[in-house]
């Protein structure tokens, strides 16, 4: 695993998200209930960026068809999604935020 610095992640307000590309992967870094989470930014139902979606109660909703995912586990919580999104570990150290991504 390699950790990648995510600029601007710490500045994210509650229910806000950032779209980043890390090691060729599209990742959404989100803040929900104070915590930072990182998940694959691509909805598993149809191509859409989750970072444009609605965050509430530890879940994120795809802006296209409102498929919901759990930000901690990546689990698909509602139709039309049935496949989970990948989750990545977020580390906060030395006033910076990092995401662990396999190269």
């Amino acid at each position: 695993m390699t950790r990648h610095l995510v600029e601007g992640a710490l500045e994210l307000g509650e229910a806000e998200a950032l779209a980043v590309e890390v090691a060729g992967k599209e990742i959404a870094v989100c803040r929900s209930e104070g915590q930072l989470h990182a998940i694959s930014n691509v909805c598993t139902h149809q191509y859409a960026l989750l970072s444009d979606g609605y965050i509430e109660d530890g879940t994120i909703e795809c802006p296209m068809h409102q498929a919901r995912f759990d930000l901690k586990t990546g689990a698909a919580l509602s139709a039309p999604a049935s496949e989970p999104v990948k989750v990545y570990r977020v580390l906060v150290e030395d006033g910076k935020a990092w995401v662990d991504v396999e190269p």
């Binding site: 509650e14 444009d52 979606g53 609605y54 802006p63 039309p80 049935s82």
Partner: protein
């Protein structure tokens, strides 16, 4: 005594209901019957990317065919159910087969309303219609669209994207008059005109009874619910199959979901017949939960989208007479009644619409000037409202 659930209608609603049953642990047999040849698919694509030169009408397929058998679901396509015996609790197929049910879910959808224009008129409802229309658009002939509703407008946009000459004729003085305020629909009219569509409003449709052979004619003048099966079985039917908030019809153990229903929405305090993707999916899921013995009230704020050119138009809530309309920038319009949000429509403003949905759900009271104030963050407004409630 059977424990089988029979679903009549192999569309989006039927598929999602079956999925929800299995997801919830329902283990008894499930049968789905549909009169189309394809496995269940969603329809929105048919009037959008499905009409592109490289389009595929089945992009919206819900699950690949093998999924059904894997889930222990018997999918019978090209098999119309012709009757329901609500006393014996059996359905009868056109092949004469009689199948007993413990619970029946009617998802028979709706069908296009037809005009008396003969064979020249094309309607767009099925994947087959889409494939046929895509072929006609490839001929390069000019297109005449009769009906300025969502289907007509999306077909017009798809045809313009293919470089065709397009005319849209609408009977009413404004487009989409049943669902949008005039100031918003006139913006959509302007959009089409900007993109080269010849738009003719307040146009008498019957003047096309002898349609030129040189044009491709598409008619989109609304749909009628396929409620005949339910009516013949003795269910209460009025502008669709009448169901309560638990998706129950007036017949024991018979439920209905999707386009075909006239359902009571407790959030809005009124009955609705919706022709939307959201209703097809979410009402079907609620119906499945009720069938599985988990009482579930279906009460959502109606949400709808239409893609025309590069504009994603989204609507949430239901337009009401006497609504005060407030614009937030030039992208989103909010409809208020006594300062309570009841409706919103946005152009490439999905984020605003999602927040508006929340505000409508919690019956938020927000002064219009706050919604219009671009220096105020909508998310913060929503959070503050949620706290107040």
């Amino acid at each position: 005594m059977t424990d089988r659930v029979v679903i009549v209608g192999a569309g989006q609603a039927g598929a999602r209901a079956a999925e929800a049953l299995r997801k919830g642990g329902f283990a008894a047999p499930i049968s789905i019957y549909g009169d189309e040849a394809h496995e269940p698919y969603e329809r929105p694509v048919l009037s959008k990317e499905g009409l592109a030169s490289n389009g595929n009408a089945l992009t919206g397929r819900v699950f690949p065919r093998p999924w059904y058998a894997q889930q222990g679901i018997d999918l019978h396509t090209s098999q119309r159910i012709t009757a329901v015996d609500a006393t014996a609790q059996r359905v009868i197929s056109e092949g004469g087969e009689s199948v007993a049910y413990a619970a029946l879910l009617l998802c028979t959808g709706s069908r296009p309303r037809k005009l008396d224009l003969g064979e020249k008129a094309h309607y767009l409802r099925t994947a087959q219609d889409c494939e046929q229309l895509r072929g006609l658009l490839a001929t390069g002939k000019p297109l005449l669209v009769i009906g300025g509703g969502f289907i007509g407008l999306e077909v017009a946009a798809a045809a313009r994207a293919r470089g065709l000459e397009v005319t849209v004729c609408e009977q009413q003085p404004t487009l989409l008059s049943r669902v949008l305020p005039e100031v918003v629909s006139s913006r959509i009219a302007a959009l089409h005109r900007e993109r080269g569509v010849s738009l003719q409003l307040e146009h008498d449709v019957s003047s096309h009874s002898r349609v030129a052979a040189t044009k491709v004619v598409v008619v989109g003048v609304g749909v009628a619910p396929n409620s005949e099966l339910a009516a013949d079985a003795g269910a209460v039917v009025a502008n669709g199959v009448v169901v309560d908030e638990y998706c129950r019809t007036s017949l024991p153990n018979v439920y209905a979901a999707g386009d075909v229903t006239n359902h009571f929405n407790p959030l809005l305090g009124r009955r609705l017949r919706l022709e939307s993707w959201q209703n097809a999916q979410n009402q079907a899921i609620a119906a499945a939960n009720n069938i599985a013995g988990k009482p579930t009230i279906y009460a959502e704020v109606p949400w709808f989208w239409s893609d025309q050119y590069d504009i994603n138009i989204q609507m949430v809530g239901v337009m009401e007479p006497g609504m005060q309309l407030v614009w937030r920038g030039d992208r989103t319009a909010f409809g208020l009644i006594d300062e309570r949000l009841v409706f919103a429509v946005g152009f490439n403003a999905g984020g605003d619409i999602r927040l508006a949905k929340r505000l409508i759900e919690i019956r938020a009271a927000i002064p219009g000037n706050k919604l219009a104030d671009l220096s105020l963050n909508l998310k913060d407004l929503v959070r503050r409202q949620a706290v107040q409630n």
